[in-house]
Symmetry: C2
Subunit: 599 residues, 2 copies
């Protein structure tokens, strides 16, 4: 087993609250397999938390293995819950500076890099996060027809065919130990690990982005697909009706999001500078119930020097029920398998209401399984009651008592009399969620799905970014029936951005669009998004669609430049630039000929 | 959603520490679907624990659903760990009598009936435990050949074919609700539940026991098997080389053991009287680190009035690192998918040793994944060090400090100097484990595998039982390389039992046998089991094999009656009654002609 201590030398220099970590090995990347977990495991314990204020690393590669890591059952919103191994598990640390000095952290297997709970004033800077074995797999497309698809997997993506099904695995163990089974079990852990996959998506090998108009091809709930080994790492995938181009890459997307790079819960003032996340097994940075999170000069991008086309298997960043300020500045978010960011609250569904000892009680349930365990309702909190179909807020009440039944259901006693309109199936959210957002000077694109999902009532500024997203660059979403994401902007400025050939994929109807989950029959009744100004941007479009809005009050579009492009094959030449439905106070400068208004 | 409260009437009469539970419904079993979880959920909370001393039920059927149940992450030895929904979750309750008055508790889905932690003086009596949907599935064998097997599943075993793979599911929801997806999700939970399977085993439909000489046929790690729907609930299973008899039942065994009926941890004096466990999703009664557990007049048997051939999918009972007395008296253990009982300790494996600040430190690891989280090493405990190959104890030491690294690894600082013989790969166990065992007047058989696995150093009496097991009726096992079960009897009396046509299956070499995992090359060096007296029993045998012993000191076989039977086809007529290898102090009365001694 690979363990720190004897083969590798690691220095921990602790003085005056500073801890310097250095690791020396023989320099060859392939041999730097000592386990750096031992020194990190206790770093976040409460006693030490008061002492260590600065952690610095000597440059180099540090390898982390799950065997001796911390462990904790975690609910991480929009990722998957579970009992997780964790390298840096920090509870209630504050005022810590963590400087990697350019070090690269290589993680092996199912291991969470950073988990912070109730931490304050933490800065991470100057390091790279990568994985030995990715949670997704990539195969070069060799042949494709109505019945099957042939791909070749490089050595980077180990797999087996088990009972005619394709199963991705960890790397075969290098050990030749012939000891008793038990010791072999320990050593061969990686080889026996299974990396289930959820779907297939084609990437353009030349452009290194999701292929033009490529769809997700679902794979069964079993995390695998029927397949036949053809030899020489060539595999025939029996999935009917796949359309793809020989020479492109077929990406087998990870089934689960167990391993975000940074999981932040109930933290305050967390800053990331110059952090490069080349891979992880979930989102890059997920903040839940946090205040003030900033990323500056960070990159989510495929591992350099490798042939990977995908960076991370989920959203680059994601913020749920956060407050204060969220800043994404001068960052690169590319080639991840979901959006660059999504900033929203959470709706729970009312599943029961009754009166107990003269007090109104409701049972609410988290419906989306990646929101289970997201306990946000606290005594004293003001709750909004939202109609499930129209998404209109029709009642407000205050929380008196909260009883957590289990990860799905919470029983809430209310301060005041419930409105008689409150009905089973409607949604409830924290009325106070309104972080201020600044997204500036970032490049966002080449990923699966959309760019940024903006759903905060706080002042939101999107400035100086370049978007090259296959779906909508900017989406205002939210719904109380499917994803249960609380949304609705109140003050959104989109200015000085370049929308560079967006919508070359299938995830959206325009560069900037609203798509709150208001039932079509109810859209006239609601103005879910408000006060949007879009100005001084450049829209370089091969496709006519620029805006697609409904149920909005206040939409100004002015001083924007529209450039026509021939970089992709247009799909919607008959469509107008602007589709506006059930909106008030709309002022779209110029382009009246290209405006479609249904009221 | 089914919920208690309005449709069903439930009375809770609490007075003088007594709680009476009555539930009234319209009497039809199919409609008794109100959820009885609400009243049970808070019963085990600490405040109530001091008040409630007697819980009685009116006769009838009580249905329990997971939606509103308690939740806890649990490690249950020899079952599967996980975040579990639990009906009766009792922490530190004492002196409680729980009388079902013949009530039947029907559980729905993934829901643990009883979980007791650190409870004392508890009696359960007079109720039945059953499940709406079993965790295994049974299909009637219609055809079989080298390539495939055709079976028909009754309505009791819902399934789907997904991408050519057989997937067992929960029952389709009866709701016709057309509301938003979220509400449907809630209602259709069962339908979307997957019941993964691990293997196939044939049962004799006439004899209602595992089929003669039937083997386990493994199914892949995916929990499913390639299959084709033939219509009319007939399915073709593509598993080569299966041998089976048309008309018999093929049982698709549950993959996991997530849901024992009773999970007892660190409890004392727990008594079961007249409890019938017709089904559950793990072991019937599992006790870990408990003291004094007794079962009287309990039954593990297939649900009456249904066509099920299997009772529960794992061992009827199982006791790990227990102390005091374990009594199984006048019980029926039949048709379960594993042994009737297994009473043993646990070995951990030494994976590292070193000296830290002049003190000897070892890292030990739980290897068997169903033992993960079994934390038993405490300061002050005397540890035995056991050679992994010979299973000889060669060193004893005392625990000074314990640091739990994670569910697998524990770091132990020792009081005294470690022997130089201590080496990586050897095993460590609690030296004090030695419960007294009485197993009397039980019927044990028709199940998969063996009867009782006796591995305690305490006085062990097996008296007045009837065994009709497909494997060994009594097995003395233990090993430090595969299952990591600490064993080795010191005083075992086997008397007045009937061994009725045992060994009709493949799991054993004789009616009574030792099979400690001592490497064949080391068996001469160890006397792992000691002082065994087998007297006044009747061995009704169709097969010659009665005893198979090695590495034993003290084996007396006297006054036993041997009757020849023609009930099954003999497989081992050339074998002797007695095989004895590397044993001392052996006294086998009569039958010298049938004794094989290798020394």
């Amino acid at each position: 087993m690979k363990k720190i201590g004897f083969l590798c030398m690691m220095c921990l220099l602790a003085a005056c609250g500073e801890q310097r970590v250095a690791i020396y090995h023989n320099g060859k990347a392939d041999d730097s397999t000592c386990d750096a977990v031992d020194f990190s495991r206790d770093m976040g314990k409460k006693g030490k938390a008061k002492i260590i204020k600065k952690i610095t690393f000597d440059p180099g590669q540090y390898d982390f293995y799950p065997d001796f890591a911390n462990e904790k059952y975690m609910f991480v919103s929009n990722n998957d819950e579970g009992l997780k191994r964790i390298v840096f598990l920090w509870d209630e640390l504050s005022d810590v500076e963590f400087d990697g000095n350019g070090a690269t952290f290589i993680f092996h297997g199912f291991l969470n890099p950073f988990v912070l709970n109730r931490c304050k004033n933490i800065t991470f800077r100057n390091f790279n996060i990568d994985w030995k074995r990715t949670f997704h797999s990539e195969g070069k497309i060799l042949d494709v027809n109505e019945e099957y698809l042939d791909v070749r997997f490089s050595e980077e993506y180990p797999y087996k065919i088990i009972q005619g099904m394709l199963v991705f695995t960890g790397f075969p163990s290098k050990t030749t130990d012939k000891g008793p089974r038990a010791i072999q079990t320990t050593l061969n852990r990686e080889e026996n690990e299974i990396y289930p996959v959820r779907g297939m998506l084609e990437f353009d090998a030349g452009k290194r982005e999701t292929a033009f108009q490529a769809w997700d091809y679902g794979i069964s709930a079993l995390g695998t697909v029927p397949a036949l080994a053809l030899g020489d790492r060539k595999v025939r995938i029996f999935r009917k009706g796949v359309k793809a181009t020989v020479g492109n890459m077929m990406v087998f997307g990870a089934c689960n999001r167990n391993i975000p790079a940074f999981s932040l819960s109930d933290c305050e003032n967390i800053r990331f500078e110059n952090i490069h996340i080349y891979h992880c097994g979930g989102m890059g940075v997920i903040g839940q119930r946090c205040r003030d999170i900033e990323l500056h000069h960070c990159k989510i991008t495929p591992s350099p020097g490798k042939d990977r086309i995908v960076s991370i298997p989920a959203d680059a960043t994601h913020f749920v029920n956060c407050s204060g300020r969220i800043v994404l500045n001068e960052c690169l978010f590319e080639n991840q398998m979901d959006d660059a960011t999504n900033i929203h609250g959470i709706y729970v569904q009312i599943i029961d209401k009754r009166i107990v000892s003269d007090q109104d009680v409701i049972d609410v349930r988290l419906i989306h399984n990646q929101q289970f365990g997201f306990d946000f309702i606290k005594p004293g909190m003001e709750l909004e009651f939202v109609d499930g179909m129209s998404m209109n807020t029709y009642h407000v009440n205050k929380v008196k008592n909260v009883q957590r039944i289990n990860k799905e259901i919470t029983r809430v006693t209310l301060e005041s009399k419930l409105s008689e309109d409150v009905k089973i199936g409607d949604a409830v959210c924290d009325a106070s969620i309104a972080p201020e957002i600044i997204i500036s000077n970032c490049f966002i694109g080449k990923n699966r799905a959309r760019g940024i999902l903006l759903n905060s009532r706080g002042k939101t500024i999107v400035e100086g970014n370049t978007f090259h997203t296959p779906g909508a660059a900017i989406l205002l979403e939210g719904d109380a029936r499917y994803w249960f994401e609380q949304a609705g902007v109140r003050d959104l400025q989109i200015r000085n951005n370049v929308f560079d050939n967006c919508n070359y994929g299938v995830w959206g109807w325009a560069c900037i669009e609203t798509r709150p989950g208001i039932d079509a029959s109810k859209r006239a009744e609601n103005r879910y998004n408000k006060n949007i100004v879009i100005e001084n941007n450049t829209f370089k479009i091969f496709d006519n669609r620029i805006l697609n809005f409904y149920s909005t009050d206040g939409l100004i579009f002015r001083n924007n430049k529209i450039e026509l492009s021939t970089d992709y094959l247009p799909q919607n030449q008959d469509k107008p630039h602007f589709v506006v439905e059930h909106c008030d106070n709309v002022d779209i400068e110029g382009f009246h000929e290209n405006r479609e208004v249904k009221q």
